[in-house]
Every structure is written in structure tokens, then in C-alpha cells.
Symmetry: C2
Subunit: 360 residues, 2 copies
Amino acid sequence: MTLVLSNEEIAQILTMELCIEALDAMYVEVGRGLALAGPRIDLVAGTQTLDGAAADYGLKAMGGVLPSNGVSAVRLNSDIITWPERAGFIRREKTPAANGRWVGLVLLFSTRTGEPLMIAPDGFMQRTRVAGASALGARYLARSDARTLCLLGSGWQAEGQVEAFCAVRPIESVRVYSPDPEHRAAFARRMADKLGKRIIAADSAEAAADGADIVAAATNSLDPVLQPEWIRPGVHLCSITVNEVHPDVVDEVDRVAFHTKEFTKEQTFRPAAAAPVVQQRPGWWTPPDAAFRSRLSDLSEIASGHATGRQRSDEATLFVNNIGMGLQFAAVGSRVYEEARARGLGHELPTDWFTQTVRP
Amino acid sequence: MTLVLSNEEIAQILTMELCIEALDAMYVEVGRGLALAGPRIDLVAGTQTLDGAAADYGLKAMGGVLPSNGVSAVRLNSDIITWPERAGFIRREKTPAANGRWVGLVLLFSTRTGEPLMIAPDGFMQRTRVAGASALGARYLARSDARTLCLLGSGWQAEGQVEAFCAVRPIESVRVYSPDPEHRAAFARRMADKLGKRIIAADSAEAAADGADIVAAATNSLDPVLQPEWIRPGVHLCSITVNEVHPDVVDEVDRVAFHTKEFTKEQTFRPAAAAPVVQQRPGWWTPPDAAFRSRLSDLSEIASGHATGRQRSDEATLFVNNIGMGLQFAAVGSRVYEEARARGLGHELPTDWFTQTVRP
């Protein structure tokens, strides 16, 4: 039978701890050359919404093969992108055009038989795998006695990040900053209830970062968020995009690791005429700088022993969760699938619906 | 509702004529820059079959966006690859390891709402779209009075090719050759019954090709099948792989077109230790030769009027159906979906199973 799961069912199964262990084992396999990550493919073309408005349609695909878990996975996103104006700014927004819902799927296949094992929405796994990679960055790079966390950002990804750091370090207090006072206060209340930790909304990024053992950014900012002034002995910095990192931070920290050095993105754009032109700004990470690359390691190298994490308590470290990998969905998806089968969750469909008697 | 279709249901709908028209309209869109084709991704890693034998696992993905039809499509293949010995030769074979079945899927999404419209096995669409492209090659490049067809190969793809040429040209007789006398005789009987044409099994490739208006190869040969001796005024040659074409044929014909010039393939291999090493032989098509490329057109250029097909009745032409595109599944899949909905075919599943309330 092929299992169809919902985000709600996956949320019952996929704890942060389970996610972190699944990812860690996968990075070891990547580092040993025993798992395969494919590139990420983005196709974006002009379309119309049902009410005739100009929009972009985006098809995104990423895949990976993880023989040690007996699975491969493909994650697909099918997005309707619009550009609403909010408070004077044009924003690029994924619109819930599928009857008020968004579309992202993970398909899990068996590498022993080829058959499709599971089809599930990607949302809960998506946030958890991003947070899980940040957690592993902290496990390998943050001081083991890190007790204070500064979080910049109070959105959906930020929630996952707090849980992630709390799962791998003895975090006692969290200071959160985001530009909107109400958002950050609500975030602090919500997460304090959820995690039973002391969580304070700070009045500025500086106030939040001051003296923190871990300073983490989880924003969608196109401008640098992590500032060089915050580097001090023993600190660990973390970002979920390359944009969030000020170039001087990269130069001044003692040790820097990416989520992955190898993953590539191929983008083909033929956007709608109405799409605003987004300026692609050259960043410190591109073109790849040879001297920088020689200093850089990634999670798979550290997890498999080909590179080292933190070596001294006074090092300043940086982890850049630079891009996702389809393999993360294979690693996390296989654990979700096994546990869902064990608990009898989800809808079962005949696998013969998704297989065939002709050789394609 | 999201529709799940079977190959048998698709075979009721997808005639060669419907396929050809769907593809032709799509190539026009590609030529006008209004449709997007993604690269093909192959990930191949060592695995084990259920009985513990060493094998390769292959995950293949290709996608495309076709806004004029309101759809995008992704085709996924999940293959178990073994290397059985047959008659002294090691062959690379896709094994039906999913309970005796193979695994290839097409997922069709709406570019208006993003939602998944259809999930279906790829097999019948796969053969029909390969044949449909050859048919269009013949429509644009073969003489309009082509009456005799030589077919080299008698396998599954060869069946589709005969139907394809008969759909676009007034074919009266077919001569088929393949190395095994029983195979070619059985093919001739079967296709004569199916198409009501005169179909003869020939004793040699030369005897089959001699004087034919169209000479088509549909084999899995790694060696050239289409020979320069067969070029004569007015002939049309067609192959379903680049390997099948002798390099001198490319130089000596008057006009040559590919299925597509732009499509790319990315392959990542970490095969099983037991996998035989397949020598990658450099071919006439790689590295791309500038002089050759300047002579070369493709279906999208011809269909959209940016390049010309046959201009004179005495030209010798060559069409190389060099590689598939995910866009073909979008073009053909959208017609299949519409017709299946109109006829009430397939299993309907709640689309909410495959969409979500969180923004991925």
C-alpha cells in the first residue's frame, strides 16, 4: 500500500529530536559518498490566476537518494506567485490559490523495489528539516554550555529555530527581536508557553544579540542581519539564508560551515510581464572565492569526520544554512513513513495505482 | 478532485492523432518562448534488491510548464537496474521489482491554481510521446507522398513508430528488420493486423531500407544503425537516439533537425560495485560542433516558423529524436486529463490530501 499522510499526522510523529537524528545519519552517508543529492530545479513562467490576474507560476523540484534508509525522495512545489503591495512595498508572495491552500508534496520511493511508499504535503517536514540543520550546525559548532539565545525574526521558520537550539544546547533564556513590536511580543508569549523557557521580546537587534551565546537569524531579509560587531570569543552565529550574513562576519569569525557546499540551483525564468524586476545583487558567496572555499566546511564533512567542528571554547563560529537538499526529505520522510506505518496513520492506497505492467 | 488514471484508461483516450496535435501546439509555444522545459535529472546509486542482490537504483525527474494549456508536469521514474547475462552479453535492465511492476509517474499540476490535477503511470504516454515527436519530424521533413517505410527494430518503441508515420504520411507498405527472425516476423504479423497495412519482415537491414521513402530506427543499439549508403534524393531518415545515427549520415543529408537542441541532462552516478563499467564513447553530437549546430534546427523552431522543414522533394532529411522533454508530458497529459474528466474515467481523490494550509 502507498501511504498518503497529512501535515497534522506528520506533526504527531516528527519531533525535533527525531528530525535531528535522521538528518545527522544522512549527512554521514553524504560525507562517505553513499547518498546522492540532486540539484534544485526552478521553472517560473507567466500565468493567470482564476480571476484573470497576471501572476507567475513556479514549479520547483529537488530529489535525493539515500540507500542506507532504503529510500529516495522528490519534493515538488507548485506555486502561484503574486506581488501585492503592503505598506508601500511590493512583496513577492506565494498565494494559496488551490482552494485557499498551498501546494507542496514529498514523494518517497523504495530503493529496494522502486515502489512509491508515501505521498505527503511538504510543509511540516520543510520547517522541521530547516530547523534540524541549524540544530546540527549548533551541535557541531556552538559551545556545549551555550545557555542564551538571540533570535532575529519571529515568523514561521523562527519557531522551528528556537526548538532546534533548545534540542541540542542547554538554552535557559531567549531574546527575540523583529521589527514589529506586536509580532515579537506575541512570538515570545507563544514560544514561552510551548517550550517552558524564559523568552523576552527585545527592543532592538543589538539588545537581543548583546552577550548571547548563540545569535540566530531566521528572516526573509535581503539585507544583512548578522553584524560583525556581535562577534566575540565563543559566540556561535547561525543564519537560514546567505543574504542574512554581513560579509565582514564571514571574514572575522574563526570557523565557518555551510549546510552544504555542493548543492546547486538551476533556474529558468520567463516571468509574467507584470512581475516586478528583482535586482539580483552579487553577494559575498558568489562568485565562489577560492580562499574562502578553503576555509569552508559543511555538515556532511563534519558529520563524517572529514572536517572538524568547534575546537576551542573561545572560537567564534558561523553556520550558514545556505540551501535545502532533496535528501533531507528522504532522511526525514523515511522515519515519518516507518512510524506512520507502525501507528496505522494515514490513508492507504493500492500501490498498483502508481506502478505499471509496461517498462517506461 | 485529483484524478488517478491507469495506463489502460489512458490508452482509451490517447490516440496517436491527439498526441501529435497536442505536441505540435506545445512546440509552437516553446518556439515563441512561452513554455518552459526543465533539465532531466538522473541520480543513480548502488542499492540492494529485496533478495539481497547488488543493483543500481535510479531516480529520474523531468518537468515542464505549459501556461497555454494551464498545466505543468513532472515525470518521475524510480528504477531498479540489474545486469543479467543473456546469450553471453551483459545487459543493463530495468527490473520490475515493485511486485512484478515498474515505476514511472506523471504528476500534472494547474498553473492557474497550483493544485495537482492528475497522477498517472507514465508508460503509455511515454511511448506515445516518443512516437508523436517522430511523427512531427516526418510531418515537417518527409516528402508528403512518402508511401514506403523501413523500420529497424521490432520492440515496444518500434510499434509506436509505425503508428506515428502512418498517422502523418500515406504509408502503404512497411518492411521491418531486427536481428531475431522470430521477433521481426511476429512484429510484422501483429502490426499488419493492428494497422491493416502490408508489413513484411526483411532478411537484412539493407533489404528493408532499399528504396524506402522513410527509414526509421527504433532500437536500443549503442552502434550506428542508420547508414550513409541509404541516403538518396527525397529520403527521410529518423532515429530515436543519437547513437543510432552513423556520423557520415549527419554530414551527408541536406537537412537535419533534432527533437530539441536545448534540453540538458544532468547525471550523478554512484553505482553499485557490481555494476559493469559502461564505456561512454564520444559521439558526433558531443562536444557540440559550431558548424554542425548552425545547420541544425529543432521541432520548436520549425513548428513556430523560426526554421524551415523540407523545401524540395529531392532533399535527403534526417530527424533525430534525441532526448525527451518533461514538457511533452504536460502537453499530452493535459489532453488526457480533460478527456478523462469528460468521460468520468479514473479514481477521484480529494485534492485536499495533496494541498496544505501552511505555506511551504
